[in-house]
Symmetry: C2
Subunit: 435 residues, 2 copies
Amino acid sequence: MSEQPRTVRVAILGAGTVGSQVIRLIHERSADLSERCGAQLEISAVVVRNVHAPRDVDIDPELLTTDAAEAIDHADIVIELIGGIEPAREYVLRALNGGATVVTGNKALLAAHGPELYEAAAQADTDLYFEAAVAGAVPVVYGLRESLAGDKISRIVGIVNGTTNFILDSMLNAHASYEQALADAQKRGYAEADPTADVEGYDAAAKCALLASLAFHSRVSMNDVSVEGISQITADDMMEAARTNHVIKLLAVGERCLDDLGNEVINARVHPALVPTGHPLATVDGVYNAVIIEGESAGRLMFYGQGAGGAPTASAVLSDLVAGASHRVHGGHAPRESTYAHLPIIEQGMTRTRYQLRLRVHDDLGVLADVASVFARHGVSIHSVDQRDGEPGAQTTIVIATHCAREADVLAVAEALRQSDAVIDVASLLRMEGE
Amino acid sequence: MSEQPRTVRVAILGAGTVGSQVIRLIHERSADLSERCGAQLEISAVVVRNVHAPRDVDIDPELLTTDAAEAIDHADIVIELIGGIEPAREYVLRALNGGATVVTGNKALLAAHGPELYEAAAQADTDLYFEAAVAGAVPVVYGLRESLAGDKISRIVGIVNGTTNFILDSMLNAHASYEQALADAQKRGYAEADPTADVEGYDAAAKCALLASLAFHSRVSMNDVSVEGISQITADDMMEAARTNHVIKLLAVGERCLDDLGNEVINARVHPALVPTGHPLATVDGVYNAVIIEGESAGRLMFYGQGAGGAPTASAVLSDLVAGASHRVHGGHAPRESTYAHLPIIEQGMTRTRYQLRLRVHDDLGVLADVASVFARHGVSIHSVDQRDGEPGAQTTIVIATHCAREADVLAVAEALRQSDAVIDVASLLRMEGE
């Protein structure tokens, strides 16, 4: 039943950290890959900005070109690793429109223009793969598109940005300030000179949009994800979290939930959260990523591994390459965009989570009663209160954990507390994950 | 580009814990599954031993039948959930030979007759799926067959048997003896009346064979896996493990390693092992399963989730069902058996791991020197020695951890120690996992 091995021509756009590893591995594993695809993979072109730039891997100079169009038009499979929106979008569309299979690791492109790209792939009856776009080597895209295709996903929650995870780790372990930890991450090459996309949560939000789309069979774009980064997290927050046996992690969350009318809606968000130290996500450190997927039948699954770096990301690219090549040889295709559920996005402010508020208050008799009445007035139920011993007449700290409450209500509570005479300030307001 | 939904007829063999969940979910998720497959799934028959037996779910009495052949011959997809070798093998072969897609959760059948079944599937150009055969809802089969198809797997290590994991947990947490813990597991329905397959490691070995075959693109059968169960583990062993910050877990391990001539060989084994409490596998408790896959490029990935139970296993079956139905509608096929690497199995005794030996010795001067000389004589290098304070002249305990050593050499050391006058007995001999 074995087919005559044919040749599949692969054009690689970009020869940076990931691209150079992909090129190296296609050469090194040539025999293995050919057995697994049923086809010989031949790198037909490597598109770069400057063919004379120094490279980490040996690339046959004949393959190097700046002519993307030519390279794309003569390839069966195009691997896009240049990142950013343009010209990546133009190249990917050109490839798909021409019937080539596309493998990309470009989360920003997908989160912004996914539907257009999926549509082009479907029109040309070809495949669009993007395992490398989320969580590096961790196969969450396969997990959602295929391994859990028979389940009803209720929730995904994960750590999908290594840069912020590294910074939060440093703040926790080295008691560094946010600024020190960021500078250290930049020095080590874990954060970019302009760290905005990472630290403000946009990178995680793009991944969150992709995962939520897959999980809930609906279109979720970057704009549908509410985003809060880590730049407001202080060394104090980390220390206070530790006091209550929590760590702070930047989480990407996608939930299927019910609105006030009982209709299913999607809630997708990225924000720092207090995670109990015993929670599986609490121990995910450094540049590791982890995603928990909760299926109605499967229960809680966790996928864990390296979320970035040349080799791990190249591993994801190569798997997509094998799948894409196999489909070209044996027929069939990758799962197409699946949006049949058409779930709407939850209204702003309606998301329900648990919160922890840390208040500095005057240590007077009756302060707790005043504070508690603010919560009651806004319909926010208190789960626990931890009042620190203070000198009478001086200031003290109250840490209040709420039950699940609407975001809008909790923000109103915080605002009312800030206005209250009893309260000096709201030192922190953080969401809580886990029980 | 959407196809006219067609009907895919599904015959289910077995309506037990998993089968009844599968039937329920096919009904409940009918609309979703049809969107995801591009086909309406129709249960065409449910094959049982006794059509009048009481059932957990409502099944249309018209579908219930004892006529497996008739049911198989009229189905597009056959889901085999009866377990055991015969008649499961006969039914699966009949289905494959007739061109039906087969979804099975039968690890024993696959570990014993996998090549024959794969061959039948290839001959008839149809698909054989078995995600449910390993680790319940945890998608390790997808992980190895697809998500890591582009990587070179160096090692897999996992906890893949919930029964033994539950028993070991009870021994650790409730300080129960093995016999008490087993009886408790049986009472709760986690262990069978005849627990041999679980506690002696055969169930884990079947899964180990499947995972190693997929990981190393070679045939690994049940007989290629060296197996040691947990029935020899004592409450003492658990307590002693805790003293050195370890837990004891039953591990399934598959490794690509080099033999003395430098040739790649496969080493597949199931045995209890000491796992450091900080290791990701140490905290996998109860009926959860976890598998770590180490890829040359991906690095260390972990998959974690519920390893057994009706609903989680049904989730895996349904994913395979969606994949199988999609292929029938859209063309293409699942990955076929991949054995091109043809790696041989390591020779017995040549496996290299770290060991911990716990010796009861006479607390005399020079005992440690005697003991150490036995290790040296057999070429086993000692990593650490922990000698307990004892009354001079009385007996004491020495705990010795080795560096990586050949199994045959360590067994020879243990035998020599038992013969030695200085040593009262070798109280335990356990492999060590992790750093």
